[in-house]
């Protein structure tokens, strides 16, 4: 097991050691441990990749999209789960269809729509896209959870005179916390790492997210391994750090959330 883990870590070892070497050390011994580690690569990668801007863009797009997904998705799932009629079931199936459909089918029509609306290169365009594309999965998770939840708490609030909005936001929503955690983690990881659509919608603008920025950065400095790898380390660090802190929840989210 230990041997497997070590072999598994070889690419990571190469990544970290190369990012700590200057070009001379790399030429002398590409795979050896760094003799005099330098952090110079990180500073210049940060600057040349405009990494600060990309970090901000990724954070804004991910945070806003996930917040909207949680709000809009949990509301819709509440209706779907509670309306045990043909209409409720029909809505459920309609949303599930979106899990199976690859987004490439609507890729070009949607691209022309976003272009016509003047939303290429904007936060709004990406946020609307992610909300739509991730809703089916979000609603699927919430609906399953709400169906298993007794409706007594909400009923009591309604009988006591609370409106539906209040009954949901103050009584039901807090009960959804475990599944909200899963929804948050899975959507955030997906949106943070997504590459194809941001490349189309944001490529060349000053709203590029981290994967898109790193893609053109690597293309530009491809022969300078130390610099490129420092860029990759920078790009991977935020999400890895969050993963390490929240590892129990993340792993639980990934392994439980996907069991239909």
């Amino acid at each position: 097991m230990i041997v497997v883990a070590v072999a598994f870590l070889f690419p990571v070892y190469a990544l970290v050691t190369l990012s700590l070497k200057d070009p001379r050390q790399i030429a002398a011994s590409p795979l050896g441990p760094p003799t005099s580690p330098t952090f110079e690569n990180f500073g210049s990668a940060w600057e040349r990749a405009s990494f600060g801007t990309a970090l901000l863009n990724s954070t804004v797009i991910t945070a806003v999209s996930v917040a909207i997904l949680i709000a809009v998705g949990s509301f819709a799932a509440y209706v779907i789960a509670r309306w045990q009629t043909r209409l409720g079931y029909g809505l459920y199936v309609l949303f599930l269809l979106g899990i199976v459909l690859p987004f490439q089918l609507g890729m070009i029509p949607l691209f022309t729509m976003v272009d016509d609306a003047g939303l290429l290169g904007t936060y709004q365009g990406m946020i609307i896209f992610y909300t739509g594309i991730q809703l089916p999965f979000t609603i699927f998770l919430y609906t399953g959870f709400i169906r298993a939840l007794p409706s007594d708490y909400a009923d009591a609030a309604l009988i006591d005179g609370a409106g539906h909005l209040r009954a949901f936001s103050q009584v039901v929503f807090p009960l959804l916390r475990p599944i909200t955690g899963t929804v948050l983690i899975l959507n955030a990881v997906f949106i943070w790492n997504d590459f194809f659509t941001p490349l189309l919608y944001l490529g060349g603008s000053d709203r590029e997210t981290i994967p898109v920025r790193i893609f053109s950065f690597v293309g530009q400095y491809v022969s300078d391994y130390g610099l490129v790898f420092a860029g990759l380390v920078l790009a991977a660090l935020p999400i890895l750090a969050i993963f390490l802190v929240l590892q129990k929840y993340v792993i639980k989210g990934f392994s439980s959330g996907l069991k239909g």
């Binding site: 097991m1 497997v4 870590l9 070889f10 690419p11 190469a14 590409p30 795979l31 809009v72 509301f75 819709a76 209706v79 779907i80 509670r82 309306w83 809505l91 309609l94 949303f95 979106g98 199976v100 459909l101 690859p102 490439q104 089918l105 609507g106 890729m107 070009i108 029509p109 949607l110 729509m113 609307i128 909300t131 739509g132 594309i133 089916p136 409706s151 539906h164 949901f168 990881v189 790492n193 590459f195 194809f196 981290i210 994967p211 790193i214 893609f215 690597v218 790009a235 991977a236 890895l240 993963f243 590892q247 993340v250 792993i251 990934f254 392994s255 439980s256 996907l258 069991k259 239909g260």
Partner: protein
């Protein structure tokens, strides 16, 4: 009261309206339009007309596209088999270790949270053709210099090199799902089998494996759909090359749309991809669910 819930207690329909609106604009309408455009010669500029099944016959006669269809299927089979096989072995190994279990789990799962594009760039270095760099350098250092290859530059190898890189990133993901399955196998079943004289392999075959069926379903489904749709890793590592050797449906439809401006043809390829994904999902839900057992 149950079964005849008072109407007054049901949430109003407009709770679902915002979701429905965004979903219709971003998914339903564009996908519907995509299905229509697949039967046209639309290029994005000027008029278009219906061309029947021309785009689909073209897909079959176009070497790059037909090759990409075959590549996509080969890649998917390789990923499903190797990723889940490795995932299962890792899960069994990690599950058996009480003390280092959570550390190993974190190490193996970590690549799955990193962007596939960055993993592709990292592996592009690992696959460096230079004899002193990356994997070739490692092979040389351990005396296996004759195994050195041009991993991404050799047309016979490129596709498999891409597949292995995907497996490296997501084997830990499969492992985590298998681990959750293993944890649900009650210890007393193993003990009972042991008392009855079952060996290691027999216990795995007759106790663990049947109870892992739900995890197998989830894993096979996730990796199949992921394999069919694979884009980021191919685009970043080989961009379909050398030649068309590692082109997949996703990279071909991307190039047809945004390099050549053949919007109609590109959506036709997307429709083929959609049909594959839908067919696979239906078949798998149907067959794999059949062999699931539950403990009562």
């Amino acid at each position: 009261m149950r079964g005849r819930t008072s109407r007054f207690l049901l949430p109003p329909w407009w709770f679902a309206a915002p979701a429905l609106l965004v979903y219709a604009v971003v998914v339903l309408y564009p996908s519907g339009a995509g299905v229509v455009y697949a039967f046209t010669d639309w290029t994005g500029i000027g008029d278009w007309s219906f061309v029947g099944f021309d785009n689909f016959t073209k897909l079959w006669s176009d070497d790059a596209a037909r090759g990409s269809l075959i590549n996509t299927l080969l890649l998917t089979v390789a990923i499903v088999v190797v990723q889940n096989g490795m995932g299962l072995l890792l899960a069994l190994g990690v599950h058996a270790r009480i003390r280092s279990r959570s550390l190993l789990r974190v190490i193996f799962f970590a690549p799955a949270v990193v962007s596939p594009v960055m993993v592709a760039f990292l592996w592009k270095y690992v696959y460096n053709p230079d004899p002193g760099e990356g994997l070739n350098g490692l092979l040389g250092a351990v005396g296996l210099g004759s195994w050195r290859q041009d991993w991404l530059g050799d047309p016979d190898l490129a596709l498999w090199s891409v597949a292995f890189m995907v497996v490296w990133q997501f084997a830990g993901y499969s492992m985590v799902i298998f681990l959750a399955g293993l944890e649900s196998v009650p210890d007393n079943l193993h003990e009972a089998a042991m008392i009855d004289g079952a060996g290691r392999w027999q216990r795995f075959r007759h106790v663990t494996w049947p109870l892992l069926a739900p995890a197998v379903t989830v894993n096979v489904m996730l990796s199949t759909i992921g394999g069919l749709k694979l884009f980021d890793q191919v685009y970043a590592a080989t961009n379909g090359g050398p030649g068309y050797a590692s082109e997949t449906l996703s990279t071909v439809l991307y190039k047809q749309a945004f390099v050549y401006g053949n919007y109609g043809y590109s959506t036709a390829i997307a429709l083929v991809l959609a049909l594959f994904v839908a067919a696979v999902s239906l078949v798998q839900v149907h067959f794999l669910r059949g062999r699931e057992v539950t403990i009562t």
